[in-house]
């Protein structure tokens, strides 16, 4: 087995990995390598052929392939090394990585710092327990997206979409543009779970029927999907008897959530936050294991790729710092961040105050329930509001962010607890 050393090793060549690796080089790391399982870089972006990417990072409205192309060129110009068709098999807590590479065979890499950038995966049908038969014609929205946009296959002609996540809405439009009929989009929650703009340009623009508080309670068909039975649900998601409706269709697409992909993180013993499904991170995107950092959707699922790239730039910077100088001096007792009233989760979950002095800290949170009126989102310490933000509304589909700086730090002491919450205006 060949052994290699490098300064920063990044696992995954999607938007997070590309940005982390580029920034690691620009922050001074000599040897930066990205391992990518696929033969194409960009992660999910090559199949996201729609526009809307890059508005905040590049100031232009790009498609997924264009956005990926820009980052691939930036990474190559920065001198990042890539090993594609390479799958990581093992990581241990000393950051030893074993991978199977089509070009190099079995290799061992010993980096000074490691960045986890494996992204997320779609929640599959098995996780939903929809009763009924198991015919062909049930796909996750992302699988259908790959079939239509990269492989040139139409999954079906009459389509029902379960879940109103962004990929589901984007696919509703895509299937319509390709000549299929989207019979219905169903959402179990009382509100749409994706972005508002997608509701307009993907659903309303094409008069696609949308039913809220509704789910699929049966799939019918022996070899191929022939129909789905839908039911309205009550506030505890229980089907309401008598509300059933049969929708004839040949395809059911599932857009029912994304889950951070952390099989490798768990293997090496990185502590996972049950609320995010991703590693617990500090203000430098460091995980519970020194020298192992995490960036992008592996940490928590973002709404926008620009935000994935931005978080990965920060993680890449700190990974380069660690590779050069080791762990920064710490005061030992970190400040803890946790979710309070109507907040689902907060990232980072800890921060040491030294981080704030150096660079400031970017805090991201997601609310639990939509608030459709002006609302304050706050970080509170011991009853004192440390930072507050007035929003015109707060929705689970739209992440809220804060920048903490030295001024905020002066109000905190090591070991303090910061609670994220919403409050009435």
């Amino acid at each position: 087995m060949k052994t290699r050393a490098c300064d920063v090793l990044v696992i995954g060549g999607g938007p997070a990995g590309l940005a982390a690796a580029t920034q690691a080089r620009e922050s001074g790391a000599e040897c930066v390598m990205v391992l990518e399982r696929n033969d194409d870089l960009g992660g999910i972006l090559p199949q996201c052929i729609h526009n809307g990417f890059g508005v905040s990072i590049f100031g232009s409205d790009l498609t997924g392939p264009e956005y990926a192309g820009r980052w691939i060129r930036k990474a190559l110009e920065a001198g990042v090394g890539f090993l594609d068709r390479t799958m990581v098999l093992e990581i241990d807590k000393s950051r030893r990585v074993v991978a199977a590479s089509q070009r190099e065979g079995l290799i061992e890499i010993l980096p000074k710092a490691l960045v986890l950038a494996m992204g997320c995966r779609e929640r599959p049908r098995g996780a939903l327990a929809i009763p009924g038969t198991r015919p062909a014609g049930v796909y996750t929205a992302g699988t259908a997206q790959r079939l239509v946009n990269m492989e040139g296959h139409m999954p079906g002609e009459r389509v029902v979409i379960l879940g109103s996540g962004d990929i589901g809405m984007i696919m509703a439009r895509r299937m319509t543009v390709e000549g299929a009929q989207v019979m219905a989009m169903l959402e179990i929650l009382p509100y749409v779970s994706g972005l508002r703009r997608n509701l307009v340009q993907c659903i309303r623009d094409f008069d696609i029927p949308l039913s809220l508080c509704t789910t699929v309670t049966e799939v019918r068909g022996r070899d191929r999907v022939e129909a789905v039975v839908t039911s309205q649900v009550d506030e505890r998601w229980r089907p309401i008897p008598g509300s059933q409706e049969v929708i004839p269709c040949d395809t059911l697409l599932l857009s029912v959530g994304l889950i951070p992909e952390n099989e490798l993180s768990r293997m090496c013993g990185v502590a996972i936050d049950p609320l995010t499904g991703g590693p617990l991170v500090d203000g430098r995107y460091g995980t519970s294991i020194p020298g192992i950092f995490a960036a992008g959707n592996v940490v928590h699922v973002y709404d926008l790729v620009d935000d994935v790239s931005a978080s990965a730039l920060r993680a890449g910077h700190h990974a380069a710092q660690f590779a050069c100088c080791g762990a920064p001096a710490s005061d030992g007792a970190a400040v803890k961040l946790r979710a309070g009233e109507n907040v689902h989760h907060v990232v980072p979950q800890t921060l040491d105050l030294a981080t704030l002095v150096d660079d400031g800290v970017h805090v991201e949170l997601r609310v639990r329930q939509p608030v459709e009126e002006a609302v304050r989102v706050q970080l509170v310490h011991d009853g004192e509001v440390i930072v507050t933000k007035r929003e015109r509304y707060a929705r689970p589909s739209e992440m809220v962010t804060f920048e903490l700086n030295a001024k905020h730090m002066n109000k905190l002491e090591p070991g303090a607890s910061l609670v994220a919450q919403t409050a009435p205006v």
Binding site: G152, T176, E178, R196, R197, D306
Partner: protein, 122 residues
């Protein structure tokens, strides 16, 4: 007659909800937009709405059988599906390069359709 209409701006991912006051087809006031592109969006929605089309075109002899394409500018909303249908009849030969025009002046709209990535020969 004066009326208030609600729009969700699709110009960028922020997706502002905009309340527009309209009298006899004329835009009097907008509220809720966080940038000036919101005003232009509402103005356009009232007169001649436009949307960007992103779809794929078949490629002969490429690494993949398709290449993604987009309209250089937003198309008149009512022409989006027609242009998409016209693009289904286009067959390109590999290699295709990012930015290459695959359908100039699509159906007389004045908007070019361009490839959004390279598609090398298989």
């Amino acid at each position: 007659m004066r009326e208030t209409k609600e729009f969700i701006c699709v110009t960028c991912p922020v997706g502002c909800t905009i309340q527009a006051t309209i009298e006899d087809g004329e835009l009097l006031n907008v509220e809720g937009n966080t940038c000036k592109r919101g005003i232009a969006f509402v103005q356009e929605e009232l007169t001649a709405p436009r949307r960007t089309l992103c779809t794929t075109v078949r490629v002969h002899g490429g690494k993949l059988p398709l290449v993604p394409v987009r309209s250089e500018e937003p198309l008149p909303k009512g022409r989006v599906l027609d242009v998409a249908a016209a693009l289904r009849d286009v067959l390109l030969d590999a290699p295709v390069t990012e930015g290459q025009i695959v359908l100039p002046d699509a159906l007389g709209t004045g908007v070019d359709i361009r490839a959004t990535r390279d598609m090398p020969v298989a």
